[in-house]
Symmetry: T
Subunit: 69 residues, 12 copies
Amino acid sequence: MSDHIYKIMELTGSSATGMQDAIENAIARAAKTVQGMRWFEVIETRGHIEEGEIKYWQVTIKVGFTLRD
Amino acid sequence: MSDHIYKIMELTGSSATGMQDAIENAIARAAKTVQGMRWFEVIETRGHIEEGEIKYWQVTIKVGFTLRD
Amino acid sequence: MSDHIYKIMELTGSSATGMQDAIENAIARAAKTVQGMRWFEVIETRGHIEEGEIKYWQVTIKVGFTLRD
Amino acid sequence: MSDHIYKIMELTGSSATGMQDAIENAIARAAKTVQGMRWFEVIETRGHIEEGEIKYWQVTIKVGFTLRD
Amino acid sequence: MSDHIYKIMELTGSSATGMQDAIENAIARAAKTVQGMRWFEVIETRGHIEEGEIKYWQVTIKVGFTLRD
Amino acid sequence: MSDHIYKIMELTGSSATGMQDAIENAIARAAKTVQGMRWFEVIETRGHIEEGEIKYWQVTIKVGFTLRD
Amino acid sequence: MSDHIYKIMELTGSSATGMQDAIENAIARAAKTVQGMRWFEVIETRGHIEEGEIKYWQVTIKVGFTLRD
Amino acid sequence: MSDHIYKIMELTGSSATGMQDAIENAIARAAKTVQGMRWFEVIETRGHIEEGEIKYWQVTIKVGFTLRD
Amino acid sequence: MSDHIYKIMELTGSSATGMQDAIENAIARAAKTVQGMRWFEVIETRGHIEEGEIKYWQVTIKVGFTLRD
Amino acid sequence: MSDHIYKIMELTGSSATGMQDAIENAIARAAKTVQGMRWFEVIETRGHIEEGEIKYWQVTIKVGFTLRD
Amino acid sequence: MSDHIYKIMELTGSSATGMQDAIENAIARAAKTVQGMRWFEVIETRGHIEEGEIKYWQVTIKVGFTLRD
Amino acid sequence: MSDHIYKIMELTGSSATGMQDAIENAIARAAKTVQGMRWFEVIETRGHIEEGEIKYWQVTIKVGFTLRD
């Protein structure tokens, strides 16, 4: 593992269901184009409110993925 | 949207169920007296423990709402 | 001055023109209902982009005002 | 306790005597109009100097109080 | 309560299910050897990704417990 | 809006004129290759000084843009 | 001094009297079981309020102590 | 450039006009006595309010300058 | 006041008595050589422990003073 | 220099040798595909331990590079 | 790995040689009494100066280790 | 030690060799004009890159030194 170089990208996922689903949405979408994702870290949890209720959650994460040689 | 002024209040919601429920409780309670809430941001997640188990969760959020003219 | 107690509120002002105007809008709006404002501090500067251009600026400030007896 | 919702306000108290007195002044003043205060947290400790001596202390605190139904 | 001294320890719990479960796992494990736990605070939420999916969540918390005399 | 995933990039714009111009330069340059930019946030404001005068301003921003499916 | 290794523990002391007393209480309690304490650093100052008055202060400190060989 | 040592000073400039002018005032004043200033960084933007309007802006910057041998 | 430029210095004062005394010592010592001090802000509160008791307090402050023309 | 726009990427380099080598590895790897790198900043230094010894170091840096027109 | 619970301790290592050696000293000393150490993170790098030269380096790290069942 | 007042200055040292050398350069240069330096703390580690290689390291430190009476 000691030779790996990782690149870190920042993503905001959203979901009407909750914060965990927002994170999973962001990672599922990223998996379509990015390979070698290894870890994530939650940076910020926000949400939009309409009519006194949470309409959707927005969670910003950092995701680290391996840079291939 | 560019003319809107928002005021931001800070709330701590609590719940025996979990952190997401604590946030929803805070917003539901605020909705009784505050109109025009638009977004929230999670500031801090804490909880109380009794007999080795989480008794209730406490989540502090900032909530932005429109100031009417 | 040593006996004064201040309350601090948090506001987000917006403006299509720029960040300084966004701050002035927030203070002008607050001045309609709050007396005794004494200082502000910039907390966050953000903005919305449409079609590759800044549509409006959003600046969040804290404003301190004197509590009257 | 698990059903309580708290609102958090930010206050700056001042005192010629010292930092602890500045905090107590802020809470005493708030107690005239706010009920159900439960906790505080010190955010910032500052002071004004004149002629090489501290003229008054200024301590900013956050205060949490119960929202009644 | 005013005479209590608390010690604060930092723990990282993990779970394949989600972030709330990771917190509960950490507290359940600590309860085997530590008595008098009173509160926790979430410090960091991370997770490991394999094949484009979250394999497990890792949540770091601080836990305060009473020091007995 | 609840299904959108955003990617966040970090840019430093510069300008001899001022901090607002430095932000607008960064966004104008990014608009040549990135579509769907939605918001920005100011991270850091710096500048270079020569002969006792500001030669150019450097403002670092984060920019969020929509990831298309 | 250059060979010493220190361990750092986090404590919350409380006191009805004030913040300095809360720190001294935490250190006095720790001195019963920990030897070789060398320095402390204040992390957080909080307090509980009842009937509009501060009931007790709670100060969280980090304490460094020498690890003996 | 690799042998240079810089010293960093912290200044607060003020201006009735705006935040950019406050920064330029601080640097112009410092240029009277300090040579070799090379960069600055904005630390804090505040202002004073009188009668509901911004009376002057106060911007705190760090300024790096070369230490001559 | 709007034309003033302030310089900010950082000082650590110490005292065997307590944290407030440590701050006053730092300001009294600075007053011997610096004129026009106007405000201070507490940055860090630490202390040294010997034989299980606080030997002296160390408080780091920032002090702003007017730059004369 | 005043017209340049920089993009900032975040990388984690690793090395069995030490923290400086981990940074150099990350930059050497990035140089294969990114041109115009101009500066870096250390964000976080971590490492993995096995059998009581550091197996490899992991240093996260931000790297700024020029965006060509 | 998903069932593991880690405890995190904070250590300050020192060395006359350099910062990397200070970290290795802290981990080597901890390895005498703690098993299952898995990672560390650098929190703070300081040092003592005598006669204008660095006498020893002091690096504070957090170390995570597995809690056995 | 309890009567000492320290002043803290901020310096950026640079070196083509590495981060530790950059710190030692800054302290060696400061020792020419400042007496009584007692400790330093690393604030920021940066560097410049040319042709895909680190040209020089830049480390910013705070240095505390005794104020003589």
